[in-house]
């Protein structure tokens, strides 16, 4: 077992968190590392996958789901989250939608110098919008996903889980 396998956030863990927290719909646009999670979600009968072609669409769809009694999860990459700024503002913050966004943290690194502007602006973006977030890097961090679900229900606001293991977490 290599270091990556030891530290990875496993797709089974992520799926377990979704089920534990009663997610009904995953509104998502694949990023480069979610293939294993996709296969697991597709095989899970309690989840309905709603694929979008641009991340901002996920915000309005999730708003409609939540308002009408569903429990959506948004699964996108940080690049798409930043592209979705006005939809986040209007459809999620504006309508007080309790939804967790799992966001692939492209460019995240604890080692050396960040070389990806997607990472440079991710947390600054969330701070500008006043959206709270939790960093999840491996299975040991997974309870933070449930914390995010609890917080979003309590505050009626979107909460972000940054998946900081994106470059190898979901691929094995």
């Amino acid at each position: 077992m290599n270091d990556a396998a030891v530290t990875a956030l496993s797709p089974e863990t992520v799926l377990g968190e979704m089920k534990k927290n009663g997610v009904t719909h995953v509104v998502w646009l694949p990023d480069s590392e979610t293939n294993w999670l996709y296969l697991l979600m597709k095989a899970e009968p309690s989840l309905r996958l709603v694929g979008v072609s641009r991340e901002g669409h996920a915000c309005s769809i999730a708003a409609g789901l939540a308002v009408a009694g569903g429990k959506p999860l948004i699964l996108i990459q940080n690049t798409g989250m930043m592209e979705s700024g006005d939809s986040l503002r209007g459809w999620l913050l504006g309508l007080n939608i309790p939804v967790v966004l799992m966001v692939g943290y492209r460019g995240w690194t604890r080692h050396g110098v960040n070389q990806d502007s997607a990472a440079t602006y991710t947390e600054r973006f969330l701070m500008a919008f006043g959206i709270n977030y939790y960093l999840v890097e491996n299975d040991a961090d997974a309870p933070r996903i449930s914390i995010a679900f609890e917080e979003t229900e309590r505050t009626k606001r979107p909460v972000v889980v940054l998946v900081g293991d994106e470059y190898h977490g979901f691929n094995r």
Partner: protein
């Protein structure tokens, strides 16, 4: 060419207990609705999102019809939404498009290529199993019972006269009587959901 108010008057008797998202037809729909707590007039939370919001409602409430009055400016911002709707195939989703060819609330500037777009063709190409286009009220009125009587998703493009607003926003008539929070609260109460 038809007027939005007349089109909504024709639609009114067929509404039954559907959830109606009136979009930019909201200011006229208030005169015809008989179930205001099942209406979701949100104004414009973020342009381009009405179709997504309506899809979300439809997926969460598959037992109830959801009728969206979208607008072409909104839809053009999110054409990719059509393929998502088509893939999901919500049988309870009725997607009506109010096409006045312009951005009426900003002074009537035309949308790009306004005179040459076939929205019904785009919807059919995206995968909607049924798509229609009407520019005359009589034709729309005649076919509406059949359109609403069969499963969705269905797309209906409606060419309407532009009613351009040039008055400063602060001087325009306010037709909304409920806040967005109240609209959501009323809908959830109607659907038997908690706050």
């Amino acid at each position: 060419m038809m007027h939005t108010a007349d089109m909504l008057k024709v639609f009114g008797p067929y509404r039954e207990d559907a959830i109606v998202i009136p979009g930019r037809g909201g200011r006229y729909w208030t005169e015809h609705t008989t179930r205001p707590n099942l209406d979701v007039p949100l104004g414009d939370p973020a342009m381009g999102g009405h179709a997504g919001f309506a899809l979300g409602v439809a997926l969460a409430r598959p037992e109830r019809k959801v009728i969206l009055f979208d607008s072409e400016g909104d839809l053009l911002m999110s054409l990719g939404m059509l393929v998502t709707i088509a893939e999901q195939q919500p049988a309870n989703f009725y997607h009506l498009l109010i096409d006045n060819g312009c951005y009426a609330t900003t002074g009537g500037q035309p949308v790009p290529n306004a005179d040459n777009i076939a929205y019904d063709v785009i919807a059919r190409g995206a995968g909607y199993p049924r798509a229609f286009a009407f520019d005359e009220l009589g034709q729309f009125s005649a076919q509406l019972p059949d359109i609403l009587g069969k499963p969705g998703p269905v797309f209906v493009a409606l060419k309407v006269a532009a009613e351009i607003e040039n008055a400063p926003i602060g001087r325009r008539r306010r037709w909304q009587t409920r806040t967005r929070d109240q609209v959501v609260k009323d809908l959830r109460a109607e659907l038997g959901l908690g706050a």
